[in-house]
């Protein structure tokens, strides 16, 4: 790549949440490395990966935190909601129970995340249409009611993965760039893992370019 991975104009922290086994980690590896692991392990605690995206000529670094799905890990994973500007709430379209739990995850976000976090509902595993247990229309309806956007993806085939992440980033970007005009002149720092400062920077502002700009 010609451009250094280090350089970015904006840093967005996103979280991947949802029940165990819905495919969060594989969505992330598909998006950041274009990989799908048949032999993937369950996630313990929290892992993360990043990918840079171009938005209107600016570089946005998406820093995506992938969380363990099992309920008992919430004590740890919910600490990562703070300061996040976006969330992908994933369920498995072939497992009804994971869809039924969406409301609980929304409640989780309401309790621990910033109030204006952008949330996208994602129905994963469209590569198994014969096992579908949740219809598109139904999920769309739920998303509309909760004012979320909705995407259906397949981490396995790669279908719609790029589109869903990009759409969420775009949504946040448009809010962030609008907000930037409002606070022009104030010195923004990127939203990092800074619980005590999180509320002062609801959206990732322009980050300082890395001091050593890599090759040029």
């Amino acid at each position: 790549m010609a451009e250094s991975e280090e350089y970015y104009d904006y840093l967005f922290k996103l979280v991947l949440i949802g029940d165990s086994g819905v495919g969060k980690s594989n969505l992330l590896s598909r998006f950041t490395r274009n990989e799908f692991l048949y032999e993937s392990k369950s996630t313990i605690g929290v892992e993360f990966a990043t990918r840079n995206l171009k938005m209107e000529g600016k570089t946005v670094k998406a820093q995506i935190w992938d969380t363990a799905g099992q309920e008992r890990y919430r004590a740890i994973t919910s600490a990562y909601y703070r300061g996040a500007v976006g969330a992908l709430l994933v369920f498995d379209i072939t497992k009804r129970a994971t869809y039924d739990n969406v409301d609980r995850w929304l409640k989780e976000l309401r309790e621990h995340a910033d109030p204006d976090i952008a949330i996208m509902l994602v129905g994963n595993k469209t590569d198994q249409p014969h096992l579908r247990g949740v219809s598109t229309a139904e999920a769309q309806q739920k998303a509309r009611e909760a004012k979320l956007s909705y995407f259906e993806t397949s981490a396995l085939s790669g279908d719609n993965v790029e589109a869903s992440f990009t759409e969420l980033v775009k949504e946040i970007y448009s809010i962030a760039s609008r907000a930037q005009i409002d606070v022009a002149g104030s010195s923004w720092v990127p939203t990092q893992f800074r619980p005590d400062h999180a509320e002062s920077v609801p959206l990732g502002g322009p980050a300082k370019p890395a001091s050593n700009g890599g090759c040029c």
Binding site: K41, S42, I44, G45, Q63, Q70, R72, A75, I76, P195
Partner: protein
């Protein structure tokens, strides 16, 4: 193998209940092959306490069955091929290998269901599958394996199998506490990066590193050490990893994500390293066993050498700052979990409990005294008022 470690000798030690000697071997060199481990591990695992009424149940389920099924389906792969080898396999050989893996996964599933359906209050957590997988790679008999996993769940992992993971986060905080005594500069850097909780180490502690390591020999070596050590030994080992990797941490910007991802993946990185970035000099200088063995057997396989070094430093740290020495702090940090002072230091536990009792007693005295004092003041005030009124 040219060492004096052989199955007969270990068997003799087990038969004669030479627990200390066995523990010393497990910590210093490990048991080196599955045959010897099969003799040593059951005895050592059981030495941490009794588990009452283990029932052998075939085809049982538990309230954790769903989660167990999800996790076992994602287990066992490393016992057939490395991650890279899986990646490069043809569709056909992958399908063939998968059916073999499935057999092992089904067995693991049965083991885990047996462990968590014992009517006890043990709670399954994601990661326990990695632990049980390791035990199963050595103890092939299904019910014996389940019984030993049950022992682990009830004793050395008793803090992890409670209904919430809160005790584990307390346990993890000990990492920074120990770091503070050893490397203030390192701790300052972590604090500057807002790394206030060592969550990067949660998988290490919950699985004795089995989740992050693919090298099955190295995992077994890790377990040789842990089944011989204090329940907090994994927390000490985690601390040592951070200390050993200090230059890597300090070289990074004090940024949460940077440092988190570096530490979170360091064991896997070291495991997968082809080239030996770790200079042999460092290993030789820090590991007595490696220096000795090298003379006889040539240089150690790289990652095993790394693990050996970590464990030797863990032993040293455990000796220098034994868990008992943290009792004043564990008493404050873990008031609800006196269980942290298990087995090895009952005396300290008794003292800690007595200390707490005394404190509680003192509080009670102060409160009662305060109330009595107040009552006296009120009575006197009322009486004097009454007297004053009487005069008018």
């Amino acid at each position: 193998m040219g060492s004096s470690l052989n199955a007969e000798r270990i068997k003799k030690l087990v038969d004669n209940c030479k627990l200390d000697e066995l523990r010393r071997i497990g910590q210093e060199t490990g048991f080196q092959d599955a045959r010897i481990r099969r003799i040593a591990w059951p005895y050592l695992i059981r030495s941490f306490g009794d588990v009452k009424n283990f029932e052998i149940k075939e085809n049982t389920t538990s309230s954790f069955s769903e989660q167990i099924a999800l996790d076992t389906k994602r287990s066992c792969f490393k016992y057939f091929a490395s991650e890279k080898a899986w990646d490069e396999m043809s569709e056909e050989s992958r399908a063939k290998a998968h059916s073999k893996v499935e057999e092992m996964q089904n067995k693991l599933n049965r083991v885990l269901n047996m462990v968590f359906s014992q009517g006890s209050s043990l709670h399954y957590y994601q990661g326990f599958n990695d632990l049980a997988n390791t035990v199963m790679s050595v103890i092939t008999d299904e019910s014996e394996c389940a019984q030993l996993c049950h022992h682990l769940a009830a004793n050395q992992f008793s803090l992890c199998t409670t209904p919430s993971l809160a005790p584990v986060t307390d346990e993890l905080s000990l990492i920074f506490h120990i770091l503070g005594f050893n490397e203030q500069k390192l701790l300052d850097h972590l604090t500057k990066a807002n790394l206030n909780d060592p969550f990067f180490a949660v998988g290490w502690v919950l699985t004795w590193f089995a989740h992050d390591i693919d090298n099955t020999e190295a995992i077994a070596r890790m377990f040789d050490f842990m089944v011989c050590s204090h329940p907090l030994a994994a927390v000490y080992a985690a601390t040592v990893v951070v200390l050993v990797e200090r230059d890597g941490v300090l070289a990074r910007e004090a940024d949460y994500a940077e440092i988190y991802s570096f530490l979170r993946s360091i064991m896997t990185e070291r495991d997968h390293e082809r080239e030996q970035e770790w200079s042999k000099e460092v290993l030789r200088a820090t590991s007595k066993v490696i220096a000795q063995k090298e003379k006889a057997m040539g240089p150690p396989p790289h990652f095993l050498g790394y693990v050996q070094m970590i464990l030797e430093q863990t032993t040293a740290l455990l000796k220098r700052m034994p868990p008992a020495s943290f009792h004043t702090c564990t008493d404050v940090l873990f008031p609800k979990y006196p269980i942290l002072c298990t087995s090895f230091d009952e005396e300290h536990l008794a003292k800690a409990v007595a200390r707490r009792e005394r404190r509680r007693e003192l509080t009670r005295t102060v409160v009662v005294g305060g109330i009595l004092g107040l009552a006296v003041v009120v009575v006197v005030a009322v009486a004097s008022q009454g007297r004053a009124e009487g005069y008018t």
